[in-house]
């Protein structure tokens, strides 16, 4: 069975992009347009991997990470954080927040697939 990936992003086309790349390579993909629906979907079915945008209105990526650590200290999914910013500030913060990897938008085809495979390995 292929891993199940949840793509969380408020930009519809950003979700579409990640979804197309992942589906083309056999992953099972679900989408959430924000932090709140993402947390609901996680409660329904635990994904293997979260592709999480940081800058979203209301519940942003940091809040999702925080809530995951609280609610799922042992069984939380792997997380790849997506950000439009490539600043080291964000890169340093993601490990502390409990994410496995960090990618800058736009995600490149090969880079996304390699990172996803590495994180899930």
């Amino acid at each position: 069975m292929m891993p199940y990936v949840l793509v969380v992003d408020d930009e519809p086309d950003s979700r579409l992009l990640a979804q197309m790349i992942l589906r083309s390579n056999g992953y099972e993909v679900a989408e959430a347009p924000g932090g709140e629906p993402a947390l609901e979907l996680i409660e329904e079915r635990m994904p293997d991997l979260l592709l999480l945008d940081i800058r979203m209105p209301r519940v942003d990526g940091w809040s999702v990470l925080e809530q995951l650590r609280r609610d799922h200290p042992t069984d939380r999914p792997k997380v790849i954080v997506l950000s439009a910013h490539s600043e080291g500030k964000v890169a340093g913060r993601i490990t502390k927040a409990g994410a496995e990897a960090f990618l800058t938008k736009p995600v490149a085809w090969d880079e996304l697939l390699t990172t996803v495979a590495e994180v899930l390995a």
């Binding site: 408020d10 930009e11 519809p12 086309d13 950003s14 579409l16 992009l17 197309m20 790349i21 589906r23 083309s24 390579n25 347009p33 924000g34 629906p37 979203m56 209105p57 209301r58 439009a84 938008k105 736009p106 995600v107 490149a108 085809w109």
Partner: protein, 476 residues
């Protein structure tokens, strides 16, 4: 005889005779001119033959003669041994000169009055220079006092306010009477007073001649303003510190504008990056089109197109906003029926499925607006209602003799209170997720456009729920 010869010696007479910078001459006890020297000829312009034997009052102004001034001077000299005076005198050609005059009585050995020695200096040039200086100082004082854009005032060496101009009153709020005599630390926030910043600034100015600072200052009403301050030490000709000149500019507006611009640029960059990222991402997807599932290629091309559309909308809106700010956007107002503009708007932006738009009120009234721009504003308000509002949308026109009010209201949840204050600012959006397809500039542009057409665009919460945007236009 010997002693007389001393004073009357040929050498001495020649010496006096030859002096050109002073008019030196003798007057007999009756006030008649007895001798005349080169200086007298030069300064007063009379040759010897015109003055010898004539009363010395001929050098005075008519009004001084009338007032008995020449006689008075002689009396004073006799009484006090000397009379000195500065005043106007008249030359042969009728012109006046400012003179310093010393009149000394000359006594004979037997105590009888021989006459007077009179020494006159022409101080016209010095007086003119003094006048010029006085007038220029007066002009300068008036200039400084009337400057409105800068607070310009003086401090004594201890930092006590000694003068106050119109700009100081405007910027700081105190009148001259209220503040002169107070220590200037009153203008600083408490934390600066506690850290003795005012004293420190005077120390630096005293030591280095000048100190410049940018920081918060406090107005009379307690509000703060961002100030540029220059304090200059003032010293007299002996180098002694006599006080300080303080020039303060209120940079609050400039600082606000700078912060706004910085935020605007950062936001615009972010807004451009989002569709650009999308375009780049899908271009990359198309490079792997052989791996896409059926229909994937079309999906990617459509997404590319959306990204490009969004970029061009953003650029168009940024240009509109810039032109509105520079007031260079062309408006062609004409009397246009509101019904026409509302219908055209609904044609261009029809309600999506599940939404309904009702129009009511004085639709046939005409407004003096640029129809193209007005439709742009209406389209923005409607598309906001489609995107963020409820399913029932009402456009209502209420005309009074003075105003035309057009409202766009919906029965949704209204604009959340946390963004109400900032909703007309660039890049402030509603919080709905998945709805960030606009430029984030729509309401800023709409408000600026209505402003430019002489009206107002405001928001109020709907009754009982939802939102209500109101365009209020003056009626022609």
């Amino acid at each position: 005889m010997e002693s007389r010869l001393d004073l009357g010696s040929i050498e001495y007479l020649r010496l006096v005779e030859g002096i050109v910078d002073y008019a030196i001459y003798m007057i007999d006890p009756d006030g008649r001119v007895a001798t005349w020297n080169a200086g007298a000829r030069r300064i007063k312009g009379y040759p010897d033959e015109d003055v010898i034997g004539k009363p010395f009052s001929m050098f005075y102004l008519p009004e001084d003669i009338e007032a008995g001034k020449p006689e008075l001077e002689m009396e004073t000299a006799l009484r006090e041994g000397r009379a000195e005076e500065e005043g106007w005198r008249v030359r042969k050609d009728g012109t006046r000169f400012w003179a310093n005059v010393v009149l000394t009585p000359l006594w004979d050995d037997d105590g009888s009055l021989r006459g007077f020695a009179k020494v006159t200096r022409d101080l016209t040039e010095r007086r003119a220079a003094e006048d010029a200086l006085r007038i220029s100082e007066e002009k300068f004082r008036l200039l400084v006092e009337s400057v409105l854009d800068y607070a310009i005032f003086m401090l004594d060496p201890n930092g006590v306010v000694a003068s106050w101009n119109a700009g100081a009153k405007r910027i700081k709020g105190y009148s001259a009477e209220e503040i002169i005599g107070s220590h200037f630390s009153r203008f600083y926030p408490p934390e600066d007073v506690a850290s003795r910043k005012p004293e420190w600034e005077l120390d630096v100015a005293t030591r280095e001649g000048r100190v410049e600072d940018e920081g918060w200052r406090v107005r009379k009403d307690g509000t703060r303003f961002w100030a540029n301050v220059i304090i200059t030490a003032l010293r007299n000709e002996h180098g002694k510190l006599v006080g300080f000149a303080k020039v303060t500019r209120d940079l609050t507006e400039r600082r606000r504008a700078e912060q706004f611009r910085d935020r605007f640029v950062a936001n615009a960059a972010h807004e451009i990056r989002t569709p650009l990222t999308s375009v780049k991402g899908f271009a990359e997807v198309l490079m792997h089109r052989d791996q896409l599932p059926p229909g994937g290629e079309e999906q990617a091309i459509e997404a590319l197109n959306r990204g490009a559309d969004r970029l061009s909308l953003l650029v168009q809106n940024l240009l509109d906003l810039t032109r509105l700010e520079q007031a260079s956007l062309d408006f062609k107002p004409e009397m246009t029926p509101l019904r026409t503009m509302i219908e055209e708007t609904l044609e261009a932006a029809p309600p999506p499925a599940g939404h309904e738009v009702n129009t009511q009120g004085d639709l046939d009234v005409k407004a003096f607006v640029d129809p193209v721009r007005f439709i742009q504003v209406l389209t923005n308000l409607l598309s906001n209602a489609y995107r963020y509002g409820g399913s029932n949308i009402t456009i209502e026109v209420i005309a009074t003799p003075r105003r035309i009010d057009l409202s766009v209201s919906d029965d949704g949840s209204g604009v959340s209170p946390d963004i109400r204050a900032a909703m007309f600012e660039p890049f402030v959006r509603g919080n709905e997720t998945g709805s960030t397809t606009g430029s984030g500039l729509g309401l800023s542009i709409a408000r600026s456009m209505i402003d430019s057409m002489g009206g107002e665009l405001t928001y109020e919460p709907g009754d009982p729920t939802g939102s209500r945007f109101l365009i209020s236009l003056p009626r022609r």
